[in-house]
Symmetry: C2
Subunit: 453 residues, 2 copies
């Protein structure tokens, strides 16, 4: 429901664009494209097949090129950069903020990086090199060194005079940072106070020093958590000596939150959040083949379990029709538990201290669901095959498999996390291996024990 407005708006733009592109009238396309913000242009380019993408990219105002490149996924960015010559790339990126430039630079050809560095003045070059010295996905990469600082031993009036001399403030400046003579971070004063407090107020009376600054080595996801828990618009970044290095702003944090969500949704299917909707077939194939091959290997494990029971199946072929139900229902029930666990782990809500309670709760839910669904399944099997023994065996096997599924749903993601793996990525493969193997084994095993004489 909620998504459909966006869908309709972009769909309308796409249709207009498609029609104009098909008819070869590029004037209207150019006008349409350049009414959009760089983020919107990025989204539009992501939704265009390669040939049309190239045409539209050529029509984007050169001054927007850099910002558009910042707003697309890695794969699409690569395809756009491939259409530009070095001079265009340099012109596009030289006005970007340092944090955006650092994000982009690693996707550029080496020769172009060198030219970009040469085209910058010394201060900016040093800032960029500084930014690139921090690992990706840390506060150091997200911050922008462009910060307005004031000293504590002055008055509001002096600060106000300084700001008028300085001119325009950096985007999203909601606070000024107070620093010592050695540029150590002391606290922040809000813009709101600058406008509403008496000009004669000493700055040190306005300083809020309650919140510690962000350490430059903190991870992006920890930064995102703090912004969202404390409703920040911007936050200062310091080094280990509390020297103020820069500032992170909410717009970059919103991008992190979106990326994390996409990562979680796509990695469950073995995909990368930077995957281009229209990535070239050989590349898309290679990437998916890895994931599917792992799944194929686990499918063989499950098949070999079934293989052990060929004698049983040959005596009672109904088992072959029914066994996927037991395995599949385990997979479905386990996936539900897994989804809750992956969210809980991402939010830091699941840990050793509540694991036992959680497991016990899921075991009880699985037992009740197993009894309910097992009864339904048993009755249907009874009506279908008229074999009370078979009905009882499948009901018990289903209940047991839901118990295995619940245990695996709780324990697989937390075990992967402890071993240092991303639970969103690999959990589902392990889970379905457990539910397939145990589903086939319990059902065919019970059938062998109780139905054959």
């Amino acid at each position: 429901m909620a998504e459909s407005v966006r869908h309709e708006k972009t769909a309308r733009q796409l249709r207009l664009l498609s029609d104009a592109l098909d008819s070869g009238r590029l004037g209207p396309v150019r006008r349409l494209v350049n009414t959009l913000s760089p983020a919107e242009i990025g989204n539009l380019l992501e939704s265009l097949p390669p040939a049309k993408r190239t045409i539209v990219w050529g029509l984007v105002d050169a001054e927007d090129d850099g910002e558009v490149l910042v707003h697309v996924g890695d794969e699409v960015r690569e395809s756009l950069l491939a259409e530009m010559d070095p001079d265009e790339i340099i012109a596009a990126v030289e006005d970007l903020d340092i944090d955006d430039l650092a994000d982009l630079v690693e996707d550029l050809p080496d020769a172009v990086i060198e030219q970009v560095l040469l085209s910058m003045d010394r201060e900016n070059r040093e800032r960029l090199e500084q930014a690139l010295s921090y690992p990706e996905d840390t506060a150091g990469r997200l911050m922008n060194p462009d910060v307005v600082t004031v000293r504590a031993d002055t008055t509001l009036e002096v600060v106000l005079r300084y700001l008028r001399l300085r001119g325009e403030l950096p985007d999203h400046t909601d606070r000024l940072y107070v620093v010592s003579r050695r540029h150590q971070y002391l606290g922040r004063i809000s813009i709101s106070d600058l406008l509403t407090q008496d000009p004669s107020t000493p700055i040190n009376r306005l300083v809020d020093d309650e919140q510690a600054a962000i350490y430059v080595g903190e991870t992006a996801s920890e930064v995102a958590r703090k912004f969202s828990d404390y409703d920040w618009i911007s936050a200062p970044v310091v080094d280990e000596n509390n020297i103020l290095l820069g500032r992170i702003t909410i717009d970059d944090v919103v991008d992190i939150i979106r990326d994390q969500a996409e990562h979680q949704a796509l990695s469950a299917a073995g995909l990368d959040e930077d995957e281009d909707l229209f990535s070239p077939v050989p590349r898309a194939m290679r990437r998916r083949l890895i994931w599917l091959s792992i799944n194929l290997a686990t499918a063989f494990v499950a098949a070999s379990v079934v293989g052990q029971f060929e004698g049983t199946i040959s005596k009672l072929v109904a088992l072959a029709a029914l066994m996927p139900i037991v395995a599949g229902m385990g997979g479905n029930a386990g996936t539900q538990v897994l989804a809750l666990m992956v969210r809980g782990l991402a939010l830091g809500q699941v840990s050793a201290s509540n694991l036992r309670v959680l497991l016990w709760k899921e075991i009880r839910v699985a037992l009740l669901n197993g009894l309910a669904l097992g009864t339904i399944l048993g009755l249907v099997v009874l009506l279908w095959f008229k074999m009370p023994g078979l009905a009882l065996v499948i009901a018990v096997a289903l209940t047991l498999n839901l118990l295995f599924a619940a245990s695996a749903g709780v324990l697989v993601p937390i075990t992967l996390r402890r071993m240092g793996f991303d639970p969103a990525l690999a959990s589902s493969i392990f889970l379905t291996t457990v539910t397939d193997v145990m589903g086939f084994f319990t059902f065919l095993g019970l059938a062998t024990l109780f139905l054959l004489k």
Copy 2:
């Protein structure tokens, strides 16, 4: 990796809390809890089993109660409200912003709602009733009526004097809104300009009227899209006559983005994003049972397809062991396509104009993957069963099923969207039904045609 810091921090808090709670020393628990922000307390409460949750909730400072209630999911909120008497609830909610109060009010018992309304002054009561008159998940519900407005026919100096008289600005005020005599929205001026421009500047020289205001009926997800495409901190909300009604701020938008991401992740498993990690067993069971019952019904469909081939299986039992591989690999491959499509639909990147190109791309990827995986699978089957015919049949069946999977992965979500359903919710059930049914049918059908004589 990135999540582990948060995990560790909250896990440490949880362990400290658990130890303190177990030992019955509530003093340290209270001190620990009340160093946290309301959002952090909310997250902590979500991660506690019911008994401990009740104890910790009783230790939270009364003045934080309202904000904490705003920051937890619906189910947890219900469990917390159940622990409070009406007076406590009224005290907790009466200082909340109108948008937060509107969000909360519908979860309160009727008698309490009435008392809350009575405890408010007339202006706030009218504002609350106004907010509640807008549908959930629209701009009207998200906005806060507390807005600083100025008139165009004045100077910066006058505005600065007015702000000093007015005192503190509402949180996240990065722009003032310029309105006409009839309170129609005319544009915005940035706080940054107030601080850096000459005081004698007329306001109408500073007004930015490029961006239209948000219409009060726009959906929450359209609001979120605009904030993220335009990097807004706050945005004005108007009615159909362009009368300024209020203001939406980025902190609420961040919550929307998080909720949408959780909705997408959990609804794929048939769960609600408001589900409590520790929801009572009967409730958790009921909710999951609905989803599992639908899956059970589709599993019967697949089983009945297998049932049609009992004669074939009884002659060649190896088919029983191998058929889940064909069906399961189709499910895995289809899920990958589905994940890309659901993201593309949510971002408005997929529509009628590029559907054919997308489908064609996915068909080619599936064909290549089918040939690659089919070859591997065929070779393994050849080594295992020494039957070249069987190896060829399974290779062809797998390739065909990957083609069905790719088509269903593209077409199921877009069809559901067109019919007005949420593609994130129901797509996976339809997809796996297709891949199970077609997997069993092609494999067992081809085996019947070519392997039996």
